[in-house]
Symmetry: C2
Subunit: 470 residues, 2 copies
């Protein structure tokens, strides 16, 4: 990334002065606030922006973009700050544009199953507001991320096997482009063949192509019935085999998550559960009352055929919520296994037939290197994570961690998978994307150069571009 060029101090000062005049106290330059707006969830160091600005309207975002564009000063969109690959760091300084004040729900339309929201609303607050409608926005990446940030990183999570990722659940975006142009990428119709799919081009672009200022979301009816359960298996292969069969016969499972024995041990301790410490599937079947029951029954049959020793049903809402809360708290549960440690989460997605082999290889490598970690996966999608508990002071361990993460990526890519299923590229996986994308990296770079010729939008992320500046 040595081609990253910081803007001239005079340019940054000109932007600061102009923003101060327009935004008053909604422009902040304090060191602590700036550091909070740089992402530190990764192992890498914090690279704070020069200032943080809080727009409240699309037109304000456009004003900020025009100013940064004129002065070639970086502009980094910030949501809930829950991204994991350094997406929010500011290696060239510049302006962090905090979108969290743009958090209104502009419309909930139960007839069309649409919500129109500002990018700053978090998914939990949105679902709270939807609670009396019988509708939900099902995409659930674990963290209480902002909807704008979830768009920008193409988030998914436990419900993706049933409802898809953000790419399948956004109808249209309003966005401010690098030069301040405001565009709308789609309509309120659930499908369209009208021109290039700019919605999907912006989703997953990690703030490098435009700043999302409004999101038209697709809502879903909450199914009549949800029946969940826990199944313990003698080994990893049999747990994964059960899921493969389920996917193959077209069984619509709502969620199906794999947790390895170490993760189960962590969850038992942290969330006060008493599950056997074996490879375990958490699953949920949804639908009409009869459909959910029938699907659950079939899934249980498949699991038993694959050797599941115990299936514990959780039809009651409280038991189910307790189970899935434990799943969501699995990161914190894992960290509690090694007090004082720092957590690092890997992310790879592979064809499902390769999942057991990839997870086994990760487990073996973990043990060979003497690292401490748990493994869990959105197994219906072939997406899995290793939560590493690392000692940030131990440099020998840090080398092992780096090699371990590289191994995860390389094995995933070698078997036809991808270096990231849902966390994105950010700063952490620039080299991995280059390996994976091959000649298509040049196409991405050409699109970036066409839409942000001055490279002001979140520079230093996703891939190297020709030198910053006009």
């Amino acid at each position: 990334m040595d081609q990253l060029v910081k803007p001239a101090d005079t340019a940054v000062e000109a932007v600061r002065a102009a923003l101060k005049e327009t935004f008053g106290d909604r422009l902040q330059t304090g060191a602590t606030l700036c550091e909070q707006h740089a992402n530190t969830a990764t192992g890498r160091g914090t690279q704070p922006p020069d200032m943080v600005v809080y727009p409240e309207t699309t037109q304000e975002v456009a004003t900020i973009a025009r100013l940064c564009h004129a002065h070639c000063v970086p502009l980094i969109p910030f949501g809930a700050g829950s991204s994991l690959e350094g997406q929010l760091n500011a290696p060239c300084g510049g302006v962090s544009i905090d979108m969290m004040k743009m958090d209104t729900i502009k419309e909930i339309n139960p007839e069309d199953l649409i919500a129109v929201v500002g990018p700053g609303i978090t998914r939990k607050r949105l679902n709270t507001e939807l609670r009396h409608t019988g509708l939900q926005f099902p995409i659930d990446p674990g963290a209480d991320a902002s909807i704008g940030g979830m768009c920008a990183t193409r988030a998914s999570g436990t419900n993706a096997v049933r409802y898809g990722t953000m790419a399948e659940n956004v109808l249209s975006l309003e966005a401010v482009m690098a030069d301040g142009t405001v565009i709308r990428t789609g309509s309120r119709a659930v499908k369209s063949a009208a021109g290039y799919d700019l919605t999907r081009l912006l989703i997953g672009s990690e703030g490098t192509l435009g700043i999302i200022t409004e999101v038209t979301l697709r809502l879903r009816g909450i199914p009549e019935e949800t029946i969940g359960g826990v199944a313990g298996f003698p080994d990893l292969d049999s747990a994964v085999a059960a899921v493969i069969i389920m996917v193959q016969i077209g069984l619509d499972v709502g969620r199906v998550e794999l947790l390895d024995p170490t993760q189960i041990r962590a969850c038992n301790a942290y969330s006060n559960l008493t599950l056997p410490e074996v490879p375990t599937l958490f699953f949920e079947c949804t639908g009409t009352d009869a459909a959910a029951r029938d699907t659950a029954r079939l899934f249980a049959e498949i699991a038993e055929e694959q050797g599941a020793q115990s299936i514990e049903w959780t039809a009651a809402r409280e038991a189910r919520n307790k189970l899935w809360q434990a799943r969501h708290d699995s990161y914190w549960a894992a960290l509690a296994l090694r007090p004082g440690c720092k957590g690092l989460v890997s992310d790879a997605c592979v064809p499902i037939s390769e999942l057991a082999a990839n997870i086994t290889a990760a487990r073996d490598d973990l043990e060979a290197r003497g690292l401490i970690g748990t493994i869990l996966g959105h197994v219906g999608d072939g997406n899995f994570h290793v939560v590493l508990m690392t000692d940030p002071e131990d440099s020998a361990e840090a080398e092992h961690v780096e090699a371990f993460l590289k191994g995860i990526t390389q094995r995933a890519q070698a078997c036809g998978g991808t270096c990231t299923g849902e966390h994105g590229i950010g700063q952490g996986k620039i080299a991995s994307l280059a390996d994976e994308a091959g000649a298509s990296l040049g196409v991405m770079q050409a699109v970036k150069a066409a839409l942000d010729p001055r490279n002001i939008l979140n520079p230093g992320k996703m891939f190297a571009v020709a030198g910053q500046g006009a």
Copy 2:
């Protein structure tokens, strides 16, 4: 489109001579063949290419692209020829690249639910080859289109309400870009957050950004049970209301199609049915045995609450196939209502709450103008079509047809919908896209200019670009 510039005769001749040398008899210049490769399904005239070439490998496609790029000669990808908006016309002449020899199935992987195919295979042949696997490729636009063409136009059809469009069912593309670079846009994993979504950028780009040379498709298990039926309603509003409720409560219907009384009359005559000539829903519920039955029962309850007079069940495969064959033949059935006529099909997609009003307005306008047409819709998606039976010799009628089609588009756009749900832009809807896209049209044009700076890929389609040629 007056900025469209034909290439110099010498350039075309240079390309012809070079292709002849490389491809021999796989290069053809006969007038009839060239005319067959220009699209005539629209009302507009045929604009034939100068030649047709039949590549058999990706490297041959790259050779052709490099040659056309060097000489600034247009290159128009051709599949089954079933597109409806003039996507295959060659307003500047050039080379039609017929992809139908690249029709191999390279891999069917039942474990990962993946098929890797050449772009020239048709969806029916693919499903025939899949028949012993228990898997299907469900996207069904009616015509026996090629998979490559379905990608290029973002096709969908009757199954989209359950399985989504091509955008949701392609994992990765191999494509040859304008300068001959070969890229791969994705992996074999079912989801990814690795860089810009070039798969979705190419899907729906109508051959203007790249030539698709290989498609990695997502397959689906054939559900255990399918229960279908026909429900007749007292009026359009009640039929649509039943579907809205179904969507809102999250009922997973496999297919649900609306046919207006004129279309039912046409189908009765053409397909030997005896359905009451009222607004009618064809529907299909799928899942496990119990799930399909339960869903169908619930759907029937909703339909009856909305006033459905008669529900005829078609659990038996033959009855169901007869019904859906009639639906697929509805275009031909409609044409048979006016022997000797030419068919023209509109395409708009609206928020479902606006569907009844849009269809009613279309019906009223049809009657006011004295035009003959039937209305049908993929009603779960808000997508509807009017099949017009026109007399190509009658110029007064032609003016009414144009105004009628314009009205369909304008009403759809005015209520938050789109001018095309699945047929695309081609030549027919360039003005409509410009109206609908607003400032985002400039983003599309910038992407096009970045990836095809000489405008050789399917020029004159989708939108106007700066003058052709380097």
